[in-house]
Symmetry: C2
Subunit: 324 residues, 2 copies
């Protein structure tokens, strides 16, 4: 288990780097949920997702010698932007291996933040092998997207900010819903939330086709999903829980929830119409779980994380044009 | 001049009614402005715009006898939703005269909030005459969209919240940019902002084709724009400054800024890509003024209001699809 002090230390490091995103309310969402729902909009975060938190927390702790050799990462796009942005802020060279069919906004933003982007074919390529060969060649450090203590602690500052903002308002969450790919955000946030609210229930939310964490939490052991699955939630396509994140999620969260792609699309329309926010598919799963009634919200206080907003305008328009 | 105490009293009335929207920062916008820009996102407000503030502040001060006879208003859509929502919260019957070509979302939301919508033809009808005849028939009170002390005080809570949030952060705004139709939001906000920051410069921002306030501020007298003008900013199509709002704006704001519809469209794309927020055309004029360089932002601290987010999905998609 990572001590909450590591998350508090990460929060210090991130002061003036990450945006302290607000905790916001929506009377429209409260009415729909028949309870109180607090929203943590990490789509408003620097780089459009929470990923800058973990990336900066890790990269700012590299030695000068390590930093001089640069870093390598692989990512479908949000971690890529987080790493590239942290690299620019810390003056560290960054190379990121990304699928060639990643959302255009994620590819473009990673490059415009100074990241060197190496693309691969999502279905035939091995991104880890590509990244490891670059790392070896350059003597560069690898910045994992979730399975590292510093990444988990950095992402945990999201939970810390939720907890502290609720304490400040005199509110107490009954439950917190957090999207889950590899499980770094939920693991770190669970540690922070439980340190402030020992009884709060924390639920991961995944795309139904990538519900490896939900099934792993149910069985108590790391389960994999089939390699051929697909989902609109490009940010959450992990096939199994992390080695380091899973024990934390197993101890502090559950049961895991999951939502269909159609429920995600509906949530993105709800966010446009009622929250006036741009949320990407993977960023909308916790909202989708509330709207689809995956968990009781009546007369409860629920907090949800909107984890990112990096969606291409074409897909966004396509989804908005669909009937509700 | 309206005393700031009236705005503080309005803020009390609005507790638990209006959302206390956050003051947020965007490193991407700061970089573009070469200075610090704080954003007050009233698109995240209940009903999707700031208008609930003034409507509720006025309607909650009606006598029981007045309330029982209901209210009438005219509006292109945001004031309509504010009035309908306040009516639902206060159990007051509301009738709102709206142009038949108002954004569908505004018409639908007004109805779903329980407002009785009476449509008219924007080019041939006289909305005031229609509203006044209904008011006379029913003995109903008219809720003006800007030219009333209680409306001005209610909208002024936006400026009050900006000022108090900046004081809390130890920040001091050099200038605040506020969109302007009839001038209620800018007048009320200017009173509140000047009470906390006596030297702050406040600028109204209008669509270039509806720059009646800018020209009136320059000449010192209320000027009209031609009746046949059009703009994408459906929320800001006032032809002349208000009788009550103008003297306040003349005393506390200026010079007035204006932006083209193309600059507004660009700002809406910037908000999607970089702020991850849905902003309607009229809500984006202050952002547009920053992005178009209508005012010096380099090394300054600027606050801007995003006043609303009620835009139809079709228009939003059309604008996002345009080249930058």
């Amino acid at each position: 288990m990572i001590p909450v002090a590591d998350i508090e230390a990460a929060a210090k490091r991130l002061e003036g780097i990450a945006v302290e995103t607000p905790l916001i309310e929506s009377p429209g969402l409260d009415a729909r949920a028949a309870g109180r729902v607090w929203i943590k909009p990490e789509n408003l975060q620097r780089t459009g997702s929470f990923k800058i938190r973990g990336a900066y927390n890790l990269m700012s702790q590299l030695t000068a010698e390590q930093a001089a050799r640069g870093v390598v990462a692989w990512s479908s796009g949000n971690h890529a932007q987080g790493v590239a942005c942290a690299g620019r802020l810390l003056n560290i060279r960054t190379a990121i291996v990304m699928p060639e069919d990643a959302p255009r906004a994620k590819l473009d933003n990673t490059r415009s933040l100074g990241g060197e982007v190496i693309t691969y074919d999502r279905y035939t390529g091995d991104r880890e092998a590509i990244a490891r060969s670059i790392a070896e060649e350059r003597g560069a450090e690898i910045v994992p997207s979730y399975d590292h203590e510093h990444i988990i602690a950095g992402q945990g500052t999201v939970g810390l900010e939720i907890a502290d903002a609720m304490l400040e308002r005199g509110e107490r969450p009954d439950q917190v819903l957090i999207c889950c790919g590899g499980g770094g955000l939920s693991a770190g946030s669970a540690i922070a939330l439980r340190s402030r609210f020992p009884d709060v229930r924390i639920h991961t939310v995944e795309p139904a086709a990538f519900d490896d964490t939900a099934r792993s939490l149910a069985s108590g052991e790391r389960q994999q999903v089939a390699a051929e699955m697909t989902s609109i939630c490009d940010a959450l396509l992990a096939h199994e829980p992390g080695r380091k994140t899973f024990p934390i999620n197993l101890a502090l969260t559950g049961p895991g929830l999951s939502v269909s792609d159609d429920e995600v699309r509906h949530a993105m329309r709800f966010a446009f119409e009622h929250l006036k926010m741009v949320v990407e598919p993977g960023g909308a799963v916790a909202l989708a779980a509330v709207l689809a009634g995956r968990i009781e919200t009546r007369d409860r206080t629920t907090a949800i994380v909107l984890s990112g907003g990096n969606v291409d305008a074409e897909l966004f328009a396509e989804i908005q044009a669909e009937p509700n």
